[in-house]
Symmetry: C2
Subunit: 401 residues, 2 copies
């Protein structure tokens, strides 16, 4: 009986620890590994042998871990480059040193590329006793193959709830006003679209639909004419037909070659005010809070994320199970139900699953019934939150212990 290691990478979500909790609990219920190591700060920390022992986590700690947002093991943006052979050699030496059979990597599509690259390397070097298993997470919901991504639903629930609440707020005055809610979503409009679950969104601007200023401002004018208000949701990744981001003025780079965005809502505000389409605009950028607001997790999200961790763990009993990502498949039928499956990490790595353009209504007027039918089951249910001193109780991050 060898050991396993589990690590987290990329931007955190409010349920990324539920998947970690699932791996740990899976091994307690069905011991495949002697020790479950936690690798701190993803690949970056594993290469520095920064490990913690999670094997005997108590049930109480496991429960609190599930409600704790943001990667409890820490994260990294360190990209394992295929050309950097030294990193690969070092990593495999560490796995050997600690007798680690399986590495579970919880992350988004960059992390799935890491799983893919490590399994490729092992195959190319006839290393048959190391397995690499990916567990998905991303608030962006943009991973291929899986029906949806752990972390998305809880962010969507918070976004839809905040849309509803701020809409109530902006309507209390009779004065003319546009409210603009900015969500994350660099390349995919899933998060912005989720605001439509509130039922109050007038206009939604997704990255998938090229932004036509005149059409958009025309719709703002219609809303103002009709009710003196307009509730707009805009994705940080909203862009013009030529690919220029609305927020282009603030574009930077995160080290992976991704643009770091911000300010799409302010760009829309400037357009509205300067065009005279409305006389007053208020902006709410949900920013970091939307991906870590764990006190209103979706119960469906928490349970699926936990079970995906268990599923990955269980599948790894097969010595040939490597280079795979576990995912969620939605079953046919009226009542929402899922099953878990696995797909090659290469099917997921470096791809983006966009929000279907056919699910967007014309002229930014929201999303179709099909989109709502897809999203609504995901945000159902609320876990019972354990509080301490009036704020939610969270585990102390392992990287701080």
């Amino acid at each position: 009986m060898g050991n396993c290691i589990v690590a987290q990478s990329g931007g955190p979500t409010s349920v990324i620890n539920a998947t970690l909790a699932g791996v740990v609990k899976g091994n307690q219920l069905n011991p495949i590994y002697k020790t479950v190591y936690g690798g701190l700060n993803g690949i970056e920390g594993i290469l520095e042998e920064r490990f913690v022992d999670l094997t005997n986590m108590s049930e109480a700690d496991n429960y609190i871990l599930r409600q704790t947002p943001s990667s409890a093991l820490g994260s990294c943006r360190y990209k394992l480059k295929r050309s950097n052979v030294a990193d690969f050699e070092k990593l495999f030496a560490i796995l050997e040193k600690y007798d680690i059979d399986t590495m579970f990597y919880i992350g988004g599509n960059d992390s799935m590329d890491t799983v893919y690259a490590l399994s490729e390397y092992a195959a190319a070097h006839n290393i048959t006793n190391r397995r690499f298993v990916g567990c998905p997470k991303t608030v962006d919901n943009d991973l291929m193959v899986t029906d949806h991504c752990p972390g998305y639903a809880s962010a969507a629930k918070f976004i839809a709830t905040t849309a509803l609440q701020t809409w109530l707020d902006v309507n209390v005055y009779t004065r003319q006003e546009v409210f603009i809610l900015e969500t994350m979503g660099r390349d995919a409009g899933w998060l912005a679209a989720s605001a439509c679950l509130s039922g109050i969104v007038d206009l939604v601007v997704l990255p998938e639909i090229p932004f036509d200023k005149d059409v958009f401002l025309g719709e703002v004018r219609k809303c103002i004419a009709e009710k003196n208000k307009c509730y707009v949701v805009v994705s940080e990744g909203a862009r013009y037909a030529d690919g220029t981001y609305l927020a282009a003025g603030e574009a930077k780079n995160d080290g992976f070659g991704h643009a770091v965005l911000g300010g799409a809502a302010n760009a829309v505000k400037d357009l509205i005010l300067s065009s005279g389409a409305a006389s007053r605009c208020k902006v709410q950028d949900l920013s970091t809070a939307q991906r870590c607001h764990a006190s209103e997790q979706s119960l469906v999200d928490v349970e699926e994320s936990f079970k995906l961790g268990m599923s990955g763990h269980m599948r790894s009993a097969d010595p040939k199970f490597t280079g795979q990502m576990v995912g969620v498949r939605r079953k046919e039928g009226e009542v929402y139900d899922v099953e878990y499956f696995a797909t090659a990490a290469s099917n997921v790595a470096n791809h983006v699953k966009n929000f279907p353009v056919e699910w967007a209504l014309p002229n930014y007027r929201g999303v179709t019934k099909e989109a709502i039918a897809y999203m609504k089951p995901l945000i159902q249910g609320s876990p019972v939150v354990t509080y301490k001193d009036g704020v939610p109780a969270y585990v102390k991050p392992y990287y701080m212990r």
Copy 2:
């Protein structure tokens, strides 16, 4: 048996409707008035005779009303000016027309000035059959005399929770980073201070403490040197010793002569980056969400707000009870407990209760134990939230019916 009217004014809170629910329930339990009218959009709508009948609200609706954020009757920023005699004459004529004995006005210190002005007018004109009763609300917690203000605790709970969650988020990476959380609080630091309930705040910038750039940046450098991170909370009303707001570049006016602020956090970010105190800063402006995020209300806040409505209603049985605001008095003793009382609205109108400077630790290093002991009991408990389709169930605003 005459009638009463209840209306809401000023910026909404997440529990302003709990006070409304309390007035309605109070009259159901102890009928003083034949009809409980709701006046839409505060004084503005009352002058237009835009009323709804709330007398027989069901218990189910009353419960959902308590969890619904933002003024369900609508609000206004219309200021009743003492010089505008026509408004006063019109209002008293309307009260006579509808046989309204008592007007309950739920609002902040501008609203208390309205209560004061109306009772003064009545006294000056020997009108003895109209009573004006104020019920406090403001997320800013800056009303005099009352121990604290309905709405503050729920906003504080959300701010402290968000601070904790975003702190977990910013710490997952090993890179150097300052996180800056901006809260409301035009003149008073109560909301910014509430973030300290999370236990993770490094530096807090309150309006009451003149901002000294060099001292502040020195503390940022110390945090960075110690742990490569710094968690900063800044009030929108933060200002230099000469009174200039940090966010001065964006100052506007809301019609009451108050500056409308925004951008204090971005101003701090610019200072930090341009000084080289840290290489990376992230900003989260809680904006509108902090005052309407009702899905994590403080149970203490909801219950007190409801009971204040009942208290105001009950006290108004006394024909001489006018020009008064009901408030909360904290009892002596180890265990948090309160009683309700009334004070002249003139004691509250147009005053501001600041965060005590002696409760701020030197060099922006947070708040004292006394401050925590004051705030902590207020954010305790969580109401059971009723959901519908995955988002909280809210009443449809009366001004939209």
